[in-house]
């Protein structure tokens, strides 16, 4: 971890906390089925626009918090979110030049990877927390991406 100046660390912490709350707040069944992976979306944003603010550590920690929150096998979300953050950070310069709508295709892919990793780990550990509806969530997440990116973008000045 470095302490470089000008990195929007507080914005990262704040938005990730909000995303965590949004992801675990109790909702009626039909709504929680279509609830997108907010934490992953916010992490994707920071991975593209400020990859050095949180590094890999922030995504991993956010994923771990999600695991503890949901009472799932420790580190399953942590691994999945760290993975998509890593892929996104590797490509962040290319992604920055795209429009938000173009980015949402990539976001869809990343959310899909996230789901597949979590699904795989759940299969291995035998935790039956899976419905076919989960495969809808990346789609909804990708559709929400432009809005979330604009919202999160207001918390810092882009460099």
């Amino acid at each position: 971890m470095n302490l470089a100046r000008g990195e929007p660390r507080w914005a990262v912490t704040f938005t990730v906390l909000l995303a965590l709350i949004a992801q675990v707040i109790p909702l009626p069944d039909w709504l929680s089925v279509v609830r997108p992976a907010f934490v992953a979306l916010v992490i994707l944003y920071w991975s593209i626009y400020a990859p050095h603010a949180g590094g890999i550590f922030a995504p991993w920690l956010a994923g771990l918090a999600l695991d503890v929150f949901k009472g799932e096998v420790l580190a399953q979300n942590a691994l999945a979110i760290a993975l998509i953050a890593y892929i996104t950070m590797s490509l962040h310069q290319r992604l920055r030049n795209q429009t938000l709508v173009q980015q949402s295709l990539f976001v869809f892919l990343m959310l899909m990877v996230n789901e597949v990793v979590v699904w795989g780990i759940e299969g291995w550990s035998g935790d039956p927390s899976s419905t076919p509806w989960r495969w809808i969530q990346p789609m909804i997440g990708a559709m929400l991406w432009p809005f979330i990116a604009l919202l999160v973008g207001r918390t810092h000045t882009r460099t």
Binding site: P26, S32, P51, I56, V68, V73, L74, A82
Partner: protein, 309 residues
């Protein structure tokens, strides 16, 4: 997409190791955590349980924050309750108290009679030695998980697999806990089973959760066993968790299809799983005849009979 190892992947000068290397470290750490967490669940307590205990404390404020909108709503709702509603509630509670008093009046006599029948000199004390009221902080009632988060944890003496009840019946048991909070797995959770006994006929079986908060199923009852609609099910005390005699559910449906090897029986839990805001953690008297059998006693019973030559 073949840029993973290229210059874009390398971090800028003086910024520490590359993302690739760091990700690799975290991935290894994750796999190790998952492995030990899974193994800890299978083998009982592990060091990761301790870590989780700490983590639960760390996220508890967040859990409270998540619950705050509904808590605020409930507070508002209660603040603006009219006088009439409150009066009606007080009347209902008085009526209920009167009924309960009648029952307890008889109970003293019954307990004495029971003790005489058992040949005991002294009256047996109540099996529930100590109780603790907890407030529900968060509710998760989905088909896959039926869980409650309650604001009592390790610092209040709560322990793993502790029975949790309401005034009406068995609610569930402690599944996981932190210092200030605990997660209750409800009897209606699809992964939960509670050994029960039919009060009327003494038939013993299991009540399994279905994932719906108003339904339990009893899938292991042969056709010829005596179970009827309306039967009261109480805990049988044959597990290590629940003491004997706590009300669990009432049978709502009995279907005996000759094509099936077993009867299909459904029951509705007595504890108001969707409505209760307060729950009771209970501690049972270890030396009480109705307490759960100690492992040693069970081992003696389970031991195969000695073969005679």
């Amino acid at each position: 997409m073949a840029v993973f190892g290229s210059a874009t992947n390398r971090s800028f000068g003086g910024r520490g190791p590359s993302f690739g290397f760091r990700f690799f470290c975290y991935a290894i750490l994750s796999v190790v955590l998952m492995f030990y967490d899974r193994r800890g669940q299978e083998q009982g307590r592990g060091w990761l349980d301790t870590a989780r205990y700490g983590l639960q404390a760390a996220i508890y404020p967040l859990q409270l924050a998540v619950n705050s909108p509904s808590a605020a709503w409930r507070w508002l709702d209660e603040s603006f309750t009219t006088r009439e509603t409150l009066r009606a509630e007080v009347d209902a509670l008085r009526e209920r108290l009167r009924v309960q008093q009648l029952i307890t009046l008889r109970q003293a006599a019954l307990e004495k009679e029971n003790a005489t029948l058992r040949g005991l000199n002294a009256l047996l004390p109540n099996i529930i030695e100590k109780r603790l009221v907890g407030e529900v902080v968060n509710v998760e009632l989905t088909e896959l998980r039926q869980r409650l988060l309650v604001n009592r944890g390790g610092t209040h003496g709560v322990f793993k697999a502790q029975p949790v009840i309401t005034g009406d019946g068995v609610l569930g048991q402690v599944f996981r806990m932190g210092p200030f909070s605990s997660e209750i797995i409800l009897i209606t959770d699809a992964e939960h089973a509670v050994p029960v006994q039919v009060v009327r006929s003494g038939v013993r079986t299991f009540a399994l959760g279905t994932g719906h908060s108003t339904s339990l199923e009893l899938p292991f009852v042969p056709h010829n066993y005596d179970v009827k609609v309306g039967d009261l099910l109480v805990t049988s005390g044959l597990d290590d968790v629940f003491p004997f005699g706590l009300p669990v559910a009432r049978v709502t449906k009995v279907a005996r299809d000759p094509a099936q090897p077993l009867a299909q029986i459904h029951a509705v839990p007595l504890a108001g799983i969707e409505s209760d805001r307060e729950v009771l953690f209970i501690w049972q008297r270890k030396d009480h005849p109705a307490a759960v059998a100690s492992p040693e006693a069970l081992a003696v019973e389970a031991a195969p009979p000695v073969k005679k030559p």
